[in-house]
């Protein structure tokens, strides 16, 4: 059964301070199977509660990379290292997921969940959580979650027609629970959402973390896209184009608004119709 959780709320991004009620997480007040709610909650807590390190295989657009990843429970950052890079990649720091926790019920409006016994991945027992999009505005996922910790052992993302776009799968993984005596979990950051009309259903926009003056971030809680703006190159007429690398779509659209040429780019794990709607929902006007 789920329990209500208290969350500390921090104010981010804007000068305007907003206080939200202390308890934002609803009980299971929708029809979701409690086992699914538990699985979704545990998945979101896993990075705080467990340390892990291992090697996974990332398959995307015909390229395959073995990547070593490590993370300590509760840390903001972990480490990522491309093991067999043909182009030299230095080990990178990686953020642990640290956004606001989504309620399974909220997500359930956008994705249909299905939970079943999963295969062994990296020698560990798992459950398979399917997220089937309820519309054509987000990708589908199949996640193998570690029984013991809720960590994602394998993730596959799918397009509308069921094509596998990308797969990440741990080949080996060591998981240890966090030390009982370590510090309490830090405050959960809350996204201050911008109200933008015309975003695809379920998506919310905010200033992009770390790039607050440069980009917008648009997400439904799982699907994520970043939006940037540039002047439209001189010799280019309005138009649009897109490429997809694995699960990541990059959509660029040039338009003229009040006489100024603007190029909007949406990059993210979203289908084309969603990217297009996102690009249309934001406009640039010349300032005064």
């Amino acid at each position: 059964m789920t329990q209500s959780r208290h969350a500390f709320i921090s104010i981010v991004f804007c000068a305007v301070a907003v206080m939200l009620p202390a308890s934002v997480w609803a009980q299971t007040d929708c029809d979701l199977d409690p086992a699914i709610v538990d699985a979704v909650d545990q998945m979101q807590r896993s990075h705080q509660e467990f340390s892990y390190s291992g090697t996974f295989l990332k398959e995307s657009s015909g390229s395959r990379n073995f990547i070593e990843k490590s993370h300590r429970a509760g840390d903001e950052r972990g480490q990522l290292d491309y093991v067999n890079a043909s182009e030299t990649e230095e080990p990178q720091a990686v953020w642990a997921p640290r956004g606001p926790r989504m309620s399974a019920c909220e997500l359930g409006k956008l994705y249909a969940f299905h939970l079943e016994r999963g295969p062994k991945v990296a020698g560990r027992d798992s459950v398979l959580l399917h997220l089937r999009p309820r519309d054509g505005l987000r990708l589908g996922y199949r996640l193998a979650l570690d029984d013991a910790s809720g960590l994602i052992l394998k993730s596959e993302s799918f397009s509308d027609d069921g094509t596998l776009l990308e797969r990440h799968e741990y080949a080996s993984l060591t998981v240890t629970p966090k030390d009982e005596n370590s510090e309490a979990e830090g405050p959960t950051l809350l996204m201050q959402h911008l109200d933008i009309v015309g975003l695809p259903f379920g998506y919310k926009a905010s200033l992009a973390r770390g790039f607050e003056e440069k980009a917008l971030f648009v997400s439904d809680g799982i699907a994520a896209a970043t939006v940037v703006f540039e002047p439209l190159p001189d010799d280019l007429l309005p138009g649009e184009g897109a490429v997809r690398h694995g699960a990541t779509l990059t959509y660029s659209r040039g338009s003229v608004v009040s006489g100024t040429g603007v190029l909007v780019t949406v990059i993210g794990e979203v289908p084309l119709p969603a990217a297009r709607l996102i690009a249309e929902a934001v406009r640039v006007v010349p300032g005064r």
Binding site: L80, A96, L189, D195, A208, F211, S219, L237, G241, V284
Partner: protein
């Protein structure tokens, strides 16, 4: 750093230029060598050819037999760069868009603007375009194309593309370039999503500063 005790380089200026290039190849050039090498190469086709040949030789000696020996794009690149320098006041990419461009969001209903307490132009009609005050200049993205001062374009949007095929090609190219330059940014911003199905979201923290 180095002094000559051999008198073999007391020959013509061009021999000294060659030697400066030789030393530069080895990373042992002092300031004089570099100045000489740069000036000489700029003024002499022969010196550039010498430099180019020496690197072909070095590649072959190192067993890099696949090096394309006959390709020479240096002239075309030189020309392209020179013409870019002329066109743009600041040829080095600047990340700042002209201050006159600001981000606006399309608002509906009575929602207040989030950036300050005194919204200007409260919106009554859905879909109206409102400028968001206080957001300041938008930093341009991280792409590689040169930044232009936005210029008023007249009747541009009413002109149908002459060649839609090449326009699509251009936009695809733009999109792909942006993928390369924005992926790390996106991984940073997307880590703010609650669930990260993409196990390998990674960023270089230096990039996010």
């Amino acid at each position: 750093m180095t002094t000559y005790d051999d008198n073999t380089t007391s020959g013509s200026a061009s021999s000294a230029d060659h030697e400066s290039l030789s030393v530069l190849m080895d990373g042992e050039a002092n300031d004089l060598d570099i100045a000489r090498a740069l000036r000489g190469a700029a003024e002499s086709d022969e010196l550039r050819a010498y430099w180019r040949r020496q690197h072909v030789v070095r590649d072959l000696m190192a067993g890099q037999s696949g090096t394309a020996i006959s390709v020479d794009v240096s002239e075309a690149v030189r020309t392209a760069i020179a013409s870019e320098k002329r066109r743009y006041a600041n040829p080095i990419i600047s990340m700042a868009v002209a201050a006159s461009v600001t981000v606006a969001v399309v608002l509906g209903g009575q929602q207040a603007l989030l950036f300050n307490d005194n919204p200007i132009n409260p919106v009554t009609a859905p879909g109206a375009i409102v400028q968001v005050p206080g957001t300041g200049a938008v930093q341009a993205s991280f792409a590689e194309s040169p930044v232009l001062q936005p210029r008023p374009v007249t009747a541009r949007s009413s002109v149908p593309p002459v060649d839609p095929y090449s326009n699509r090609v251009s936009y695809n190219r733009l999109a792909d370039e942006r993928f390369e330059s924005l992926l790390k940014v996106h991984n940073t911003t997307a880590s703010a999503a609650s669930i990260t199905p993409m196990v390998s979201r990674s960023i270089d923290p230096k990039d996010s500063q």
